[in-house]
């Protein structure tokens, strides 16, 4: 069943084989170019609310570019031009009414390498909160405990909140970064290869965290690790050469993809 509007100019119409649930992010005919070189072509897809959606595809297919576009991280790059729309809960993120700082509060982002600030664990999580509003200390402490608990880190750091965040292991640092993002209560969490620099146990902890977080917010995951996409995501979008090739429930994409291009990629065949 084709449920999403098809991108008219795509070289081959993408397959969207499901009826989207309640939509959180709606990407419509979105194009993006770096210095005139097209990186994303006519992408149209809806990201369901309170679900994990994975973007998979070969290097250079545009999945990270798309993730960054959702957070408007390309704003400062003057060579980037874009067309089409990205709507967050019905509101265009590029509209003049959209405040970029507010957008980035609502759409948090976590990168491949953990990037805690050179300050204490407590101050890392409090950082976004302090920028956002003044809060009584007790209230702030509660939010920090909640964020660290949500990021499955509280039990490991509760006795050393005022020690440097750099003393944490890589996996703990990544969960701290997630806690820092959660503290400002975003609607969406974008994860760009969040576990690719971590060992298998830390990776599993991050994956477990992703699964637990979806009751609170919408998650979008970019990953090169297809088993990871298969393990944690509810929906999977396969991108190639800046185009959306296939988008559907993860179970279907990994057991019975509709297109040969998807099949070739996820099973490691020559294309």
């Amino acid at each position: 069943m084709l449920a999403s509007p098809m991108s008219a100019q795509a070289s081959q119409a993408p397959v969207t084989a499901f009826v989207p649930e309640q939509c959180c992010l709606s990407i419509q005919q979105f194009n993006l170019a770096y210095a005139g070189k097209m990186a994303l072509r006519n992408l149209t897809l809806d990201v369901p609310r309170h679900r994990v959606t994975a973007f998979i595809g070969p290097s250079g297919c545009g999945k990270s570019t798309l993730l960054r576009a959702i957070n408007r991280l390309h704003d400062l790059n003057e060579t980037v031009t874009h067309g089409g729309h990205i709507q967050l809960e019905g509101q265009d993120i590029h509209s003049s009414q959209m405040n970029v700082t507010e957008l980035r509060r609502r759409v948090g982002m976590v990168f491949q390498t953990p990037n805690p600030f050179p300050m204490s664990i407590y101050e890392n999580v409090a950082f976004g909160l302090r920028l956002q509003r003044r809060l009584p200390k007790r209230k702030r402490d509660d939010i920090i405990e909640w964020a660290l608990t949500s990021a499955a880190l509280w039990d490991e750091v509760k006795d050393r909140l005022h020690r440097s965040a750099w003393q944490l292991s890589g996996g703990q640092q990544q969960r701290l970064v997630i806690a820092r993002t959660l503290a400002v209560q975003p609607d969406v969490l974008l994860l760009d290869e969040p576990a690719s620099a971590l060992d298998p146990i830390s990776t599993l902890k991050i994956e477990e965290l992703i699964r637990n977080l979806k009751s609170q917010l919408t998650l979008v995951l970019v990953t090169h690790n297809m088993q990871q996409a298969a393990r944690v995501s509810d929906y999977t979008a396969f991108l190639q050469h800046g185009e959306l090739v296939e988008y559907g429930p993860t179970d279907q994409v990994f057991t019975n993809p509709q297109l040969q291009r998807t099949e070739n990629y996820i099973t490691g065949r020559m294309t």
């Binding site: 297809m226 298969a230 990994f254 057991t255 993809p257 509709q258 998807t262 099973t267 490691g268 020559m270």
Partner: protein, 241 residues
Amino acid sequence: MDITSDTHSQHISRQFNQELEELKTHLMAMGGLVEKQVQDAVYALLEGDSRLAEKVRDNDRQVNDLQLQIDDECTRVLARRQPAASDLRLVLAVIRATSDLERIGDEASKIARNALLLSENNGTIRGLVEVRHISEHVRKMLRDALTSFARFDTELAMQVVREDESVDDEYGSAMRSLMTFMMEDSRSISSVLSIMWVLRALERVGDHANNLAEYVVYLVKGLDIRHSDPDTLDQKVLKKP
């Protein structure tokens, strides 16, 4: 999206291609052995060849060993390659198919055991016509099911699925005739009961061949047609009106 028999030989990893090819080759070898077991068991019964019947009984161990070997290969592929899409479906289909082939091997052994019992019987054996007829039917089903697996041919697989119903009808009618024989001549009860067990075993072979054909549809089209309504199957699988 349908796949073809070449699909599993196009991976970037040649070793993975080889592992999947071996799974298919070993499954076909097991299929060939099981097919021969059924053929020999029926021949031994019809011709009263007790030596051949004993051979069938003894060969069942080879069938069991092949099942263990192929299952082990499948486990290794799952653990080491984490296959997806058509690769995953191939491994699942092979695991399921080995189980059915092993059961067919068991049915061939049952037929051979009854052939041995009947070879000691000096009187006329009733029901051999029915055995010959149904055995030809189910052996064709088994052959076609294995061919459809080797060629990834869903049309042939669907023919096997359709045949199963007529084997069930033939089995019901043969059982009614055999009951009549038993009522007419109580001295024949023991031999007719053996023939009934043989027919039952053949009917089960037909069921397992039907299962194999269903796995082919799953493998090629990703459609699980087990427990589906037979009236809508063609439309579902072959997209015929």
